[in-house]
């Protein structure tokens, strides 16, 4: 009876004086904005019910090349924390105004381990002289050791923002870290079976995977849903003369006609989804586990 009276009292107070609601009674969920799905997954796993994570990017768009509109930027500016991937991921970040105090670059701690994807054309103009638009590889989370460090950066930032739940965030982070570490170990074991196996990637997004697990991989620049031009087939055949791969890694399942033609060249298609955006099924870990399983089959 007493509990009921208290509940009625609280409800009446909430209705009559909405401004007087203590924060802990109302909502102390942190509003988090992220720039890709891996960070969304980490923040949700670590933050649990105490965070509301928004990835403001449509599901069919690659977050690396998405550009926000003014309304979205205004919404981003109101977030309690904005998790960036760093390493040049999401170029729009350099072109918008964000509150520096709430922006967290999750890969900053290992910025000395950033990889350069490919040297761009050097150009010069004006008094500043020659300069290159350095192209950093940005799919850092494909090195699962680095992914664990990014998750750690997420946990640290959440704890700083809401110290009351620090213990809980740490507790949530630990199993995630363990899962990423075991994934890392599984990948290392699989790749070490046949480390010299030549591989071809359909897209140059696997730099961190290659570096961490010492894969012998060369990349072309193909899209899974576009049939390659004759010039691109010639380029692939040239690669194959020096790099006799029997397996081509794709971000998603390619068109059936691409797969057929690759088959005639002796190439089998294997999907390794970088999972930059929300997957159609499963979550980050299940997708990565499937990716690892797919690669393990290649190294058998």
């Amino acid at each position: 009876m007493k509990g009921l009276l208290i509940a009625i009292g609280v409800a009446a107070a909430v209705l009559l004086f909405p401004g007087s609601i203590p924060r802990s009674l109302a909502s102390d969920r942190l509003n988090i904005c992220v720039v890709n799905y891996p960070l969304k997954y980490f923040a949700e796993r670590i933050g649990g019910d105490h965070v509301s994570v928004i990835l403001p990017i449509p599901r069919d768009v690659d977050p690396a090349y998405w550009t926000p509109d003014v309304a979205t930027i205004a919404a981003l500016q109101k977030a309690d924390l904005i998790f960036l991937n760093g390493a040049g991921y999401a170029g729009w970040v350099d072109k918008v105004s964000l509150p520096l105090s709430r922006v967290v670059n999750t890969s900053k701690a290992f910025s000395d381990r950033y990889l350069t994807s490919k040297a761009e054309v050097t150009h010069s103009h004006g008094p500043t002289g020659e300069h290159t638009h350095e192209n950093l590889a940005f799919t850092t989370w494909l090195d699962f050791d680095l992914a664990a460090r990014q998750a750690e950066a997420v946990a640290t930032a959440l704890s700083r923002k809401n110290p009351a739940y620090k213990e809980m965030f740490t507790q949530n982070f630990q199993p995630l870290k363990d899962e990423l570490k075991s994934l890392d170990a599984a990948m290392s074991r699989a790749a070490s079976r046949a480390p010299e196996t030549p591989l071809i990637a359909s897209h140059p997004v696997y730099d961190y995977l290659v570096h961490r697990y010492r894969l012998n991989l060369k990349s072309v620049h193909w899209e899974p849903h576009e049939f390659p031009r004759p010039k691109q087939w010639l380029e692939l055949q040239e690669h194959l003369t020096t790099h006799p791969a029997t397996c081509m890694i794709w971000e998603s399942q390619p068109l059936a006609e691409i797969e057929e033609k690759l088959h005639t060249l002796g190439l089998k298609c294997v999907v390794f989804d970088p999972c930059g955006n929300v997957p159609e099924a499963g979550d980050f870990l299940t997708v990565m586990q499937q990716n690892a399983e797919n690669l393990r089959a290649v190294f058998k």
Binding site: V96, L100, H123, H125, G126, P127
Partner: protein, 393 residues
């Protein structure tokens, strides 16, 4: 008494130039020290309130006053730049909230202040019109700037070149005005705010141009190889950042090396502030950390030292003027002897003559008092503006 006052008033009206001179002299002698005190009090209040509201400022070693005046009041004298990494270091230390400030450029004689959104939260600036900065190339105006230039959201403002004779220099940037802050009665009203990255674009560190790898016009390409393209001076640089051109804007190198003039540090607590200050005291340290309140307090000490000299000068001048006035008055009594004699002849007593002189003096004193009060009220009402015009800017 009324008749004496009436005759005195008629005398003053008849000798209007002499009386006006007397009135002005007395008014100035009295109102000058009052106005000076009002202005000094106002300048002290303004300087100290902004300084007290800015816990710590970090900048290049050198004049602490220049650093504080540029960071707090966007003074024209920009201190030597420091790298943005200084801001990152403070952030990483977890001791304070760092807010970068890059106050070096101008737009139509108004300071352009490059900073981050944290600055507006820190200063409690609220928008009066439009919206907050979102994209590169946008600016939000202080209330006074918007009023003076007649600009509002949707208009544009061009940055001023640093040197008119730098023909090969950086192109001015046409900035889009997206908002105007409400009046804050601080130096923020007199500034044009941009994102720190926009300030770097104004400096030319970030720029947008045609894609050199896709140039077809041979007159734009000086030399081309597989790995290098050298463009000619004809290469078109964008001078405005729009939705169409923003994609071509880019920065070269590490943004941590990019310049800023200062970092405002807001410590988490007193202990963090002390620890942070300790980090900048080593001998070889290139940066300095200052407490603006202490720097401005030092400046005010100087001002008050000057004020006491001024007070003495005013005192001497006032004494000389009073003596001169007494002399003028005594001489005028001698000149007016015939007038007093006529009064005496028509039946006026010596007391009546004394009353007439006293009434004249009373009227002059009353007139001066009224003018003094009006001048003091006007000074007090406009002290805020006068202080900024005379002392701050």
């Amino acid at each position: 008494m009324i008749d004496s006052l009436y005759i005195a008033w008629r005398y003053i009206c008849y000798n209007r130039f002499k009386s006006a001179t007397l009135l002005i002299c007395v008014t100035l002698i009295v109102s000058l020290p009052i106005a000076l005190n009002v202005l000094l009090y106002e300048s002290e209040t303004q300087l100290m309130s902004r300084a007290a509201g800015t816990p710590l400022v970090i900048g290049q070693r050198g004049s602490a006053l220049d650093l504080v005046m540029n960071t707090l009041y966007f003074d024209n004298e920009a201190p030597e730049p420091i790298p943005m990494a200084a801001c990152e270091e403070i952030r990483d230390s977890d001791l304070a909230l760092p807010i970068p400030v890059y106050a070096r450029f101008q737009a139509r004689d108004n300071p352009i202040v490059g900073t981050t959104l944290d600055y507006f939260e820190f200063r409690g600036l609220t928008l009066g019109q439009g919206r907050m900065l979102t994209m590169l190339g946008e600016c939000v105006l202080g209330a006074s700037v918007a009023e003076r230039l007649g600009l509002g959201p949707g208009d544009s403002l061009v940055s001023s070149p640093e040197s008119l004779f730098d023909l090969a220099g950086i192109y001015p940037l046409k900035m889009r005005v997206v908002g105007v802050f409400q009046k804050s009665h601080t130096a923020d009203d007199l500034a044009v705010f941009v994102d720190i990255k926009t300030a770097w674009v104004i400096q030319g560190l970030g720029h947008g141009h045609q894609d050199v790898t896709r140039l077809q016009d041979p007159s734009l390409v000086l030399k081309r190889s597989d790995s290098s393209v050298a463009a000619t001076a004809k290469l078109y640089h964008y001078t405005e950042i729009t939705e169409e051109t923003v994609g071509s804007f880019h920065f070269h190198g590490d943004l941590a090396d990019y310049p800023i003039t200062a970092v405002i540090a807001v410590p988490c607590d007193a202990k963090s502030g002390t620890i942070l200050r300790g980090r900048y005291t080593e001998a070889g340290e290139k940066l300095q950390i200052v407490v603006p309140e202490e720097v401005i307090d030092g400046l005010l000490q100087q001002i008050f030292r000057i004020k006491s000299v001024l007070d003495a000068v005013i005192g001497v001048v006032a004494t000389a003027t009073v003596l001169a006035l007494i002399l003028v008055f005594v001489l005028s009594l001698r000149i007016r002897q015939r007038e007093f004699y006529t009064t005496f002849k028509i039946g006026g007593s010596r007391l009546t003559i004394a009353r007439l002189i006293a009434a004249e003096m009373l009227l002059i004193a009353t007139g001066s008092s009224i003018l003094c009060v009006m001048a003091s009220i006007a000074t007090a009402l406009h002290a805020d503006y006068l202080v900024r015009m005379l002392f701050i800017r």
